[in-house]
Each structure stands twice: as C-alpha cells, then as structure tokens.
Symmetry: C2
Subunit: 202 residues, 2 copies
C-alpha cells in the first residue's frame, strides 16, 4: 500500500495550494504535535511563504479545524452510508465496522491528528466538531437500537456498546501502519465478525 | 472521583521532588504535547529551577521515558496479575479486562501521554518500552491461547483478538474523564462481559 497523495486525501478541496497546506499541516501536527508547529513550519513544508498560507487559512487553528471537520464529516458519511445500506441491521453493522475500521487504518495519520488534537481546537470550532461527533455516535446507537428492536442484537447497554464499536475503529489509527501484514479491508472484516459476536448477532 | 495525587501516581518514586517533576512533565505533555514543552516549563510547573530538574532527570526525554516506562511496567503488572489469578481462563480474562479498562480510565492522563508520545522517545529508550509492549501483548496472547487450548474460547485469529482486547482498554483513556457517569470499575465490568462474548466464552 502506498502513501496517499494530497488529492486522495482531499479530492474536494481546491485549489492545489490549499491541499498542499492541509497536507503539510497534517504531517507537521502528526510529527511534532499542533502546539510545537508554527504557521511558518507549515508554509515552508508546503513550499510557500507564511503570507501565502494566510490567503487560504487565516490561522494555524483554521488549518487544524479544516483537517478535523473534514475527517469527522467523512466518518459521519460512513455512518450514513451504513444506515442506508441494503439488508438486515446485521448486514448494515457488518458493513459499517468494515468501512469504519478500514478508513482508520488507511487514514491513520489524519485520524490520529483528528482524535489526539481535539482539545487543541478553539472553543467555537470545537463545538462544530462536537456536533459532528454527536451525530456519529447517535448514528451508531441508532444502528444498535434497530438491531435490538428487530431481535437481531442482544445489547446490555446501548451507550457502552456504541462507545466500544467506535473505540475499536478509532484505535486502529493509533497502531496501524502500511507495514502491517493485513490490508485495511481484511482487518475490517475480522473486526466486523468480532463486533457481531459481541452483539450476539445471527 | 477526585484527581490523583503525585503519590497516588508514583508511590514508589522518591524523593518528593522527583515525583513533583514527573507530575509537572505529565501535565505539560498532556496539555501541549511533548515537543511544545521545554524543561523550563516543567521545572516552573514543579516550582523548581531548570538546574534543579537536571539533578533528577538529565533531559526532557528522560522524564518522558520515566513516565512511559513506569506506565508500561504497571500495565504489564496487570497482565501478570491476571495470568496468576485463580480460576479458569475465562475468570482470568474477565479479571484482566476489568482491571486493564479501569486502569486506563483512572489513569487516563498517564495513558494518553504514554500512548500518544511513544514516537517522541529517543531510539534507545523506545527499544526498552517496545520490549515491555511485546511482553504485554505476549501475555494477552498467552491468556487467549490458554482459553482456546482448554476449550473455553473460540478465537478466529489470536493476534487480532489480542490487539482488540488491548485496544478496547487503551482507547478508554482517549475519552474517559472524571465527569463520566460510570466508575472505572463499572466500565471494566461491562467491557469484560463484551470481550467474553467476543471470545464465545461460557
């Protein structure tokens, strides 16, 4: 598996200079942490001047916010895709765990920055991201609740089960690397099987 | 639940000044990240001069290493305690998940610094910590393997199952706070039940 390009990561961001800055910000935050990174570091890594950076992002915080907002929006998209997936709730949950785990393996650098630098977001930006996180959690709880309602899942505590399902996916980003013998999708399949056991599905 | 004191965290570290420095290092690394923290920041937070810090820790890296080594040693202790626990392998695994999850909830700040700043350790120190991590993983795999051998567990892939069990505990540190409605032990019990389901125990 080769490292993703800037346009793999942010196909919808234009122009190319903004994407380059996001990538430089991502790599610097992942390497040294948000607080140890200056806007000059990011601009230099993107081959630009600090002044040019401000054309696209008014601050370092705006850059982190864009990485975080986009990452959360994409994982919320995975939840929505799963809720709309054909088949039983068991099928939807299998599909969700598979794509959620695979995303966190493939996008481990983004996921790490998104999760570990959450507290570095300014208050207003944090609220926006928090709203997205609540929607992600609510979506997973809806999936679990629907499984219970249809007699497909046995769940002692919806809140804990939702946390565990999300936790398993998120934590893959902490340790996964391209050197891992399993592909993101293989891992996703294994995790899906384990989660369905946990829910006593099928 | 009240915040832990320095002597709760490091009862075996002497003298008090060294403990105060560990605590100041821990809080600063957790707040701003390792790279954005200077030895002066740590010394000031501990109410000491940078020169006094060097009496106990030759560098900022030595401080991170001590936090990391001690944290890993303690979690390895939990694995060893569980292997030696009375009863069936199912009992040992239930006990392990309970104390491992509770530890990561109660010691969430230590666990976060230990996990997220792993790559900030110098090469030699990283090797020591890596050895401890391998022993932790091997212990959990031994627990799983013994359960399979005794016909107590059904595990599709030992390596993935060990990763998942550890992941569930470690990730609690990412989101747990003292405001959470459940105590570390309540959470530990719920997680233990879910893990045993995953292993098709009992």
């Amino acid at each position: 598996m080769s490292a993703p390009t800037d346009s793999d990561l942010w196909p919808d961001i234009q122009p190319d200079a903004a994407r380059r800055l996001l990538r430089a910000g991502l790599d610097s935050f992942a390497e040294r942490g948000y607080h140890a990174t200056t806007t000059r570091d990011v601009a230099t890594a993107a081959g630009m001047s600090p002044a040019a950076l401000y054309v696209y992002f008014p601050s370092k915080a705006a850059l982190l916010f864009e990485i975080s907002r986009d990452g959360h929006q994409k994982t919320l998209g995975l939840v929505e895709q799963s809720l709309a997936h054909a088949g039983s709730t068991t099928d939807k949950m299998r599909y969700f765990v598979r794509i959620f785990v695979a995303w966190h393996a493939r996008r481990h650098t983004i996921a790490r920055v998104v999760q570990y630098e959450l507290r570095s977001l300014p208050a207003k930006e944090y609220q926006v991201v928090r709203g997205l996180r609540r929607n992600i959690e609510a979506g997973v709880r809806a999936l679990l609740g629907s499984g219970v309602e249809h007699g497909e899942f046995d769940v002692p505590d919806l809140h804990t089960a939702a946390t565990v399902v999300l936790s398993l996916g998120v934590d893959v980003a902490r340790w996964y690397s391209e050197k891992h013998p399993k592909t993101p999708e293989q891992l996703g399949d294994e995790y899906a099987e384990l989660v369905l056991r946990m829910l006593r599905a099928g």
